[in-house]
Each structure stands twice: as C-alpha cells, then as structure tokens.
C-alpha cells in the first residue's frame, strides 16, 4: 500500500502483480495496453506536467477534438487521469505521470516539449500567464529562441506581481540560454533580462553583482553597432549605481539626468519628463526647460523605442510655440488619435483645441472649422469641466473670423469669464482684437486688448500679454513692450518685430502671416 501511494486501484494492481515486485512495471504494462490514441495522449499529458487542459493538449497534439475527447474519457474511466479543477485534468497518481514520461524516448521528448511550447505560445495570453510554462518546455526542447523571449515575458509578469525573487531567477536562467542566440537578438534579449534583474527590488548587493556583466554587454553591443541595447544597458547601470546611493557613479555612466538615473525604466522616465514638459508648455512657463526635456525624451525614445500621448502633445505644443506649424499639426494629430484610441478625452480635447487655435492663428479658417467639429463631440463626453464653454467660444471665434459677424461672440466670452479661465480669455480677446484692428474697429480692439492684457498678466501668459501690448502700441503709437521674455512664442516675437518695422504704421500692421 505504501508503494501505491494509498491509491486503492494501484494497491490492487500491485497485489495482483506480486511476482513483478515493482509498481512502476505494473503501471508501464497498463499504459502499454492502452490503444493508440489514448497511449499517445498519456505521453503528451505527462510532458505537459501535473495539470493539463484539453485546449493545450489539442493544440500540441493536433489531434481531432472528437478523438481526443474520446481518449480522455477512456483515460478517466480507467482512473489514469482525473478531473482536477474546472477545466484541468491531472494524473490519478504522480507515479503514472512519471512512468508515462519515462516511456517517451529522448529525441521524441524534445519534439513533444517544443510542440507544447509552440501550442502555448499560440494561445491568447495578454497577461503572459503561460510564459513560465513556455520557458520550461522550450528550454527542455533546447529551443532557446523560443525560451528566451518567453522568459522576458515571464520575468516582466513576475515584476508586475511583485514576485521579485522569481523575476530574478527566471532572468538569470534565461541569460545563460541567451548566449546561444544570434548577436542582434542576443543583445536585445540580454538587455531586457538585465532590466528585469535591475528593476526587481531584491537587495542591492545582489543586483550589483550583475554590474560587470552589464558593462560587458554595453561594450559588446556598442562594438556590434547595437546602439539601442548599449544605451539601455547604460541606463540600467546608472540605475544600479543610483540605487546603491552612488550618484556620482551614476552620472559617470550616463549623461542622463539624475531623474533618469534613478529610474530603471527609461521609457517611464521619458513619459514623466514629457508630462512635465507638456505641463510647462500648457502654462507657457520655463519653455527652454520644456524644450530641453523634450529633446532628452526624443533621444531616449529614439534609443529604446516607445510612444506616449504626452510626448506627441508636448512636441505639438512646442512646435506650435516655435511657429513650426506643419510639424505641430502632425504631432498634435498623432496625439489626438492616440488619445482617442485610449479614451483619454481630456488630452484628445487639448490636442484638438490647439489644432483649432493653430488653424485660426495661421488663418486657415476651413481647417479651424473642421477641427471645431472634431472638438465638439469630445467636449460633450466630458463632465464637470470647462471644455464645453471653451469649445463654444472657439467655434464662435471661428465663425467671426470667417465673416466678421459677431453673432453670439460676446455671450460666449462672458461664459468664459464666468468659468474663470483667464488664459482662454487672454488668447481669445487678443485674437479678436487683431481681427478688429484689421477691420478698423479700433475702439473695440482697444477694449479687448486691454482686457486680454490684464488677463494674460494675471495668469502669466507672456505671449498673449506681448501680443496685446503690440495691438495697444499700434493703436496708441506708444511703445508698451518693455523686455524680452525667453518664453515668448514665435508668433508673439514675429508680431513684435513687424510692429517695430512698421512702427507708427498704425492700422497698416499685418497681424499674422
């Protein structure tokens, strides 16, 4: 009974086969008596492991489902397998599995494991639940090209589940397997595996042991022209130094800022930097810093790949600020599509709203009308904010720019005053004042420019303030611009330059080109 593991069926079998003296032989002989399909299935199931499901088995064996189900039923009836939980089967006894596995010849075992790994790989698995099993089967099959990427997915899954020791173990195992990969893939995979080890919050002393190997990888990748892997390797090394409190070492390893150096994930750091840059551009403050942040973001993304709404939105705003309209429209269009795909209504609205103001500033009035139409349904999806009111104002301004009829313009301006959005008010009144100035409506232009200037000064919008001052200077002939501001937009600088050139030209000034 002890040898049978308490299984009454095997106890009985063992009693019947006393002369053989071995339960293993008893089981082997029982399995040998199975017909073709059932015997075949037992081998595959034994190779899969302790628990297996019909889907994996079906994909791996490519057995017609009808035949497979008949064979499974038979195995269940003979108490060789049993239903374990929900959709899984298990062997009635570990001994049966062991014996069944031993009966598979060495060369066939490799094929069976490869086939199982491929079957698992072909299954829909967005959370990489099967990644660990793929690693096991692919490495048993000696298929490192399949095992290593699966190990990367498995390690990343472990990180997401905070299973840091498991993440490190799987990455460490896969690093050995990765040595056999062709150079290009090897560097990329080794970098990903080191990224897992560095990111896992295991004791820093343990992680630091990998520093020499990461340094070797950087050199080898650089010598083989794999700049992307070399760059990411440098980021990882810097992150390790930073985690160890060695910020000087971190800086020596990379030109990245300390902010990046502390992060083991350069993409996440790039997105965070893009967010800061986008924010600065939205509020038109510290534009040179926003510019250098975005340059660094582009360098990192160029090296390690990836994209994010904040990057596209930030670049769109930056190019618009610099007066590079075509590229601004391209980036903003990209941000718009990404945000729409991700159901990020606010960023979708921001991208579309900037496309409207950009089209108006460049007097591309048909485009302005088109973008307004895109803006309205997005605003309708948003509750609690100011987007509806601001959208209506933009639509009203676009109509006014087209035919000069104010219609509901003053009412929409009043709505924006009531929601207290001074940046919008400053932009709108400056733009309206420009149109009025061109049409010779000097009194309303002056009133609007004065209110725009007050609003722009209150919320610190240097470009709108400068534009309002140019309009007032044009009207009064007095120079109201005092000092240059590094945050001024190209549009504001151009208007000021034109005003200087046509000084005292009064109403002849072209507001925009």
């Amino acid at each position: 009974v002890k040898e049978s593991g308490g299984n009454p069926l095997f106890a009985l079998e063992l009693a019947r086969a006393q002369s053989t003296g071995s339960l293993t032989q008893v089981i082997a002989s029982r399995l040998a008596q199975l017909d073709g399909r059932a015997r075949d299935l037992v081998s595959w199931a034994a190779a899969i492991g302790h628990q297996f499901d019909a889907e994996t088995l079906g994909r791996a064996t490519e057995m017609p489902s009808g035949e497979m189900l008949t064979a499974l039923e038979k195995l269940e009836r003979l108490a060789i397998i049993r239903v374990a939980e929900s959709r899984f089967y298990d062997f009635a006894h570990d001994l049966v599995r062991d014996v069944a596995y031993q009966t598979i010849s060495g060369p066939r075992r490799l094929l069976v494991h490869r086939q199982i790994a491929r079957a698992l790989q072909s299954m829909h698995d967005p959370d990489s639940v099967f990644a660990g099993d793929i690693v096991r089967h692919a490495s048993l099959a000696g298929d490192n090209a399949l095992a290593v990427p699966a190990a990367v997915a498995a390690g990343q899954r472990c990180l997401r589940m905070f299973a840091y020791a498991d993440a490190t173990n799987v990455a460490r195992l896969a690093l050995q397997l990765a040595d056999t990969l062709p150079p290009t893939e090897r560097f990329e995979r080794q970098t990903q595996l080191f990224e897992i080890i560095v990111t896992a919050r295991t004791p820093i002393a343990e992680r630091l042991k990998f520093s020499p190997r990461i340094a070797e990888l950087i050199d080898a990748a650089r010598n083989n022209g794999q700049a992307r892997s070399a760059a990411l390797g440098a980021h990882l090394l810097a992150a390790l130094h930073a985690d160890a409190g060695d910020l000087v070492g971190a800086e020596q390893q990379t030109i990245r800022s300390a902010e990046i150096a502390r992060s083991a994930d350069p993409r996440a750091a790039a997105y965070a930097m893009a967010n800061t840059a986008r924010c600065l551009l939205f509020i038109e403050r510290d534009i040179p810093r926003a510019q250098s942040l975005l340059a660094e973001v582009e360098a990192i993304i160029g090296a390690v790949g990836g994209d994010h709404i904040e990057i596209a939105l930030g670049l769109g705003y930056l190019h618009a600020h610099r007066g590079e309209y075509e590229s601004a429209v391209a980036h903003l269009g990209r941000a718009l599509e990404m945000a729409a795909r991700e159901q990020d209504h606010w960023r979708e609205w921001c991208a579309a709203a900037r496309l409207v103001t950009l089209a108006l500033e460049t007097r591309n009035l048909d485009a302005a009308k088109r973008w307004c139409e895109r803006l309205q349904p997005v605003a309708a999806k948003m509750t609690g904010g100011s987007e509806g009111v601001r959208t209506e104002l933009l639509a009203s301004i676009a109509r006014f720019a087209l035919d000069g009829k104010p219609r509901d313009l003053r009412a929409r301006l009043q709505d924006v005053r009531e929601i207290d959005s001074k940046s919008d008010l400053a932009w709108a009144l400056t733009f309206i004042a420009e149109l009025e100035l061109e049409r010779g409506e000097t009194e309303t232009a002056r009133r609007d420019a004065e209110e725009a200037l007050a609003a722009a000064d209150t919320v610190g919008r240097p470009s709108e303030a400068a534009l309002a001052r140019v309009i007032l200077s044009t009207l009064t002939g007095k120079r109201l611009i005092t000092k240059a501001d590094p945050n001024l937009s190209e549009r504001a600088i151009r208007c000021f330059t034109e005003w200087k050139e046509t000084r005292h030209g009064q109403h002849g000034r072209r507001a925009n080109v």
């Binding site: 967010n275 939205f282 606010w346 609690g384 904010g385 100011s386 929601i419 207290d420 940046s423 209150t458």
Partner: protein, 90 residues
C-alpha cells in the same frame, strides 16, 4: 491669488488613504500651475469633498485635476464672505 473651490462626489465613501493618493497625483500639477492647497472638507458619509485652493484662475485648478486624471464635479472661483459681527442685544 484668488480663492478656488473644487467640489467632488463619490459613489462609495472615500478613505483617508484614497484622499492622500489623489492629493499626491494632483499636487505636482498644482505646483507647476502655481496653485496652493488651503484646506479640504469631507462630509460625514465620506461621499462629498470640498477643497479650497489659491490660484490665479479656476482653469489652473481644473487643468491640474484633468492632467492628473482626478474626477471633479465643478471648480469655481470664490470670495471669502465674513458675516457682520452680531449686534449685542443687551
């Protein structure tokens, strides 16, 4: 700087940890926008929150909340109202 009021409502009672987590998300945006948190009130059933800020305009506060992905009911600029001292009746 003017006074700004943010109103928020929640389907389920909000915990202090959730309030703090929300604040951590919004704070960097508020700081960038030059806005300062003054105080918050939470209803006894913990389903309503009123936050008071100082900011240049209401839009700066809205933008901070939107950017951080934190929902709100409405944001409005406000003046502090002080009642006259009650007249002594004796």
């Amino acid at each position: 700087m003017a006074n700004m009021v943010v109103e928020q409502t929640f389907d389920k009672p909000i915990t202090n940890e959730e309030m703090n987590a929300m604040a951590r998300r919004v704070d960097p945006c508020l700081e960038a926008h030059g806005a300062t948190w003054v105080r918050s009130y939470i209803s006894s059933d913990r389903k309503r929150v009123i936050c008071e800020f100082e900011a240049a305009d209401a839009e700066k506060v809205r933008e901070s909340y939107r950017s951080a992905g934190v929902q709100f009911e409405r944001v409005w600029s406000a003046e502090v109202f002080s009642r006259d001292k009650p007249t002594a009746s004796y």
